[in-house]
């Protein structure tokens, strides 16, 4: 019990710092307890020594030096960069972000500066995509050299009746492959002449099976016949299906002729 009381009193002595600030119960305890009294006495002397340390004063030119420092900092702050007050980590992040930005801009410029279509750079190899039917005479196709088959390929090409539109499909697939593998771009070629391949001559020569594609449509084929005297006659040939629905034999008049003039 006594030890417990001493512990409380010693805590009070340490918190008070001086015997003058102790409570009445603590003072009465000190009269009976030598250990606590010794502690209180030593603490009071220590407090007296600390209090005797006195106050150190600032030097006489403190204000002058402070004004000079403030003026110097004001000038330095006006000259410094906007991010000069940032911490090291933030400054490092800002520099890294700037380098990243510069690198991205450099890559972007280099990609834009590069000729994006090797066909154009190679001299006239260009693919012009048309939204309408690619094989109509009104919309000529400019086929790239690399894609266009040579004579041997044409000679070995399957016949018209063997495979329906195989060369055309191959052409489309090759074009698709070409588009996937290469960067496709467009260039305004309106001012320069382009090689035009018409169905009637070149395409028919090189693509015999593609001249009149068997699966083109069910529209009738019209043939105009001139009799040599300025009179022409148009003959409409119905489309032929190799299925079972429409054949020439089922038609009562296989050749539907419409005379514009006397034949």
């Amino acid at each position: 019990m006594r030890n417990m009381n001493c512990r409380n009193i010693q805590r009070e002595i340490e918190e008070a710092g001086s015997a003058d600030l102790l409570s009445a119960s603590a003072i009465s305890h000190l009269e009976a307890c030598v250990a606590c009294e010794t502690l209180s006495r030593r603490q009071t002397r220590l407090q007296a020594i600390i209090s005797s340390l006195g106050t150190v004063e600032a030097p006489g030119d403190f204000d002058f030096r402070l004004r000079a420092r403030l003026a110097g900092e004001g000038r330095g702050r006006r000259r410094s960069l906007p991010f000069a007050n940032l911490s090291f980590g933030l400054r490092f992040a800002a520099v890294a972000a700037m380098l990243l930005l510069i690198g991205s801009a450099f890559l972007l410029v280099s990609f834009r500066g590069r000729p994006n279509n090797p066909a154009v750079a190679g001299g006239g190899k260009q693919i012009t995509s048309q939204p309408t039917a690619p094989d109509s005479p009104a919309n000529p196709i400019v086929v790239p050299e690399s894609v266009r088959p040579d004579k041997s390929q044409v000679a070995n090409a399957p016949k018209k009746n063997e495979l329906n539109g195989t060369p055309k499909r191959r052409l489309n697939s090759e074009l698709a492959t070409y588009r996937k593998s290469e960067r496709i771009g467009t260039r305004d070629m309106s001012s320069t002449g382009a090689r035009v391949m018409k169905r009637d001559d070149q395409l028919a020569e090189s693509y015999p099976t593609a001249a009149f594609p068997i699966n083109a449509s069910y529209q009738s084929h019209k043939v105009s016949v001139d009799n040599g005297r300025g009179t022409s006659r148009t003959i409409s040939l119905p489309s032929v299906s190799f299925g079972s629905q429409r054949t020439l034999s089922q038609t009562p008049f296989p050749l539907i002729a419409s005379a514009r003039d006397a034949w």
């Binding site: 603490q43 006195g54 150190v56």
Partner: protein
């Protein structure tokens, strides 16, 4: 919670009224500094330059460094005058800045190992390095010399205290601040402050055994 908010608002309002009412208060001088009154700032410097220099000197035990840090304290006050809020007393605010600067300086010193002879007297078991502070066993000449020696010894003993004990002890026993002010300056609870001060006094008694 509402009551606390109301009390805090009333306290802030009272402080603002004080600023308006007393043109010589610290807050009023800082308000004037904010709008460019250099004389008001000079008045503030005149009020606090000695206590702040003394406090930092007791913390660092280096007079020239203490003067530099005191100047840095006022520079920071001047720079942050526009952001200053009159929630607490100005003395709490400026002592907090000074404490942070002093602790930062002590940590810098520890990193740079500027304390001489520390390495020679490092404990053999790899523990914390001990300051070279041998007791002077020679008889002293007279009372004045004894007092001077005691002051020197206690100053050295304070400078060997860990910073978490040193700052509250100096604020309490040298600067005479209340526990409440110390807890605000150090942003620590009052109970922790009391405990640290008691521990610091215990350390000092052990170190000053020869002089007590």
């Amino acid at each position: 919670m509402d009551t606390l908010t109301t009390i805090d608002m009333n306290f802030s309002a009272a402080l603002r009224r004080e600023v308006v009412a007393d043109p010589t208060s610290d807050h009023a001088l800082l308000e004037a500094t904010r709008i460019g009154d250099e004389d008001a700032f000079a008045e503030l410097v005149g009020r606090y330059r000695n206590p702040i220099t003394n406090y930092i000197y007791r913390m660092t035990n280096d007079y020239d460094g203490a003067v530099d840090l005191a100047q840095e304290t006022f520079v920071r006050v001047y720079r942050a005058a526009e952001r200053y809020q009159t929630t607490y007393a100005f003395s709490t605010y400026i002592y907090r800045i000074a404490t942070n600067l002093a602790i930062s300086e002590l940590r810098k010193r520890k990193r740079r190992k500027l304390v001489s002879l520390t390495g020679f007297f490092q404990s053999r078991d790899g523990g914390e390095p001990q300051e070279f502070n041998p007791p002077d066993l020679k008889p002293l000449a007279d009372t004045a010399l004894v007092d001077a020696e005691r002051r020197l010894a206690v100053q050295r003993a304070i400078s060997t205290l860990p910073e978490k004990y040193r700052a509250p002890l100096i604020l309490r026993d040298v600067e005479g601040k209340s526990y409440e002010d110390i807890s605000r300056i150090l942003e620590t609870s009052e109970g922790t402050i009391k405990s640290r001060i008691s521990r610091a006094r215990g350390f000092l008694r052990e170190k000053m055994t020869a002089y007590l």
